[in-house]
Amino acid sequence: MCDACGCHTNDDATEKIVEVHQSLLAANLEQAQKNRQHIEAMGAVAINMISSPGSGKTTLLEHTIDYIGDKFRIGVIEGDIETERDANRIRAKGIPVVQLTTGGACHLDAPLVHKGLHALEKQSKDGTFDLIFIENVGNLVCPASFDLGEHNRIILLSVPEGSDKPAKYPTTFNGAQALIITKTDLLSYFDFSVEEAVREALHLNPDLAVVELSATQGLGMEAWTAYLDDVLVNR
């Protein structure tokens, strides 16, 4: 029908039926596969770090750099809604880092990480790394649905958050390779049952590796670096 006068003069002209049959979920997965190949071409293993805000992802990275920054070539991709604060902390450690700010999205996705990988490459002399940490936006829900191209996905759960979280967020814990319980120096101040958290997480995902640590107090860091050694050896 004509918008101007309501007549039907041009009705039969141009209607077209297009059969499409395309997945709308496939787009992120395709880019994630490309990211994975890109990371491999950089000689690296990428680890996607997922947790609630404030669980200690950046702090763990800072201390990890202290422990193994001389042994392995580390690169970091930081994801936040706003600010470059986390990237600044990593940069202060002398490590190549890129900050991705989503401006609103509550998770990183493969297309954003693709840009991050290209930016990170430029910060290394020959474009290669051993370990790339992708610190996701602080959020225990949404990041779980988005493959970024990582080889390993780890979930941080800090003692103050409570040991019931694996049961309450099954998709998140199910899709991971490791559970890192952080801030274990605070166990005496909270009702956190390590046994409950580990039992419920393993119930969802029997292959989950578990590490308990306190980055600031230097507890469990050997187990953590041993886990990273393992990931690198088994790449």
Binding site: V18, E19, V20, H21, Q22, L24, A105
Partner: protein, 81 residues
């Protein structure tokens, strides 16, 4: 899931299709949503109808959802002119 960003992704795809087929208006969009896809249909439709108004060629598009088995979200068919 992320119904609004999925709806935005659908609209981006519709704009591309309209361009490729030299169409000025998308009239009907048929989408199949898997029951295991973790997508809340109402939220997806709501998001689509909210975002479509920002783009001329998609503004009048009617979204028709069919629930199917499986865990995917498929753009099945588009009627345009």
């Amino acid at each position: 899931m992320h119904e609004l960003s999925l709806a935005q992704g659908l609209i981006d795809q519709l704009k591309e299709l309209a361009g490729a087929h030299k169409a000025t208006r998308i009239m009907t969009v048929r989408v199949n949503i898997g029951t295991m896809a973790g997508i809340v249909v109402d939220s997806f439709v709501f998001g689509f109808n909210a975002v479509k108004t920002e783009t001329n060629c998609v503004r009048e598009a009617q979204l028709k959802i069919t629930e199917v088995d499986g865990d995917d979200l498929i753009l099945a068919q588009v009627i345009m002119e």
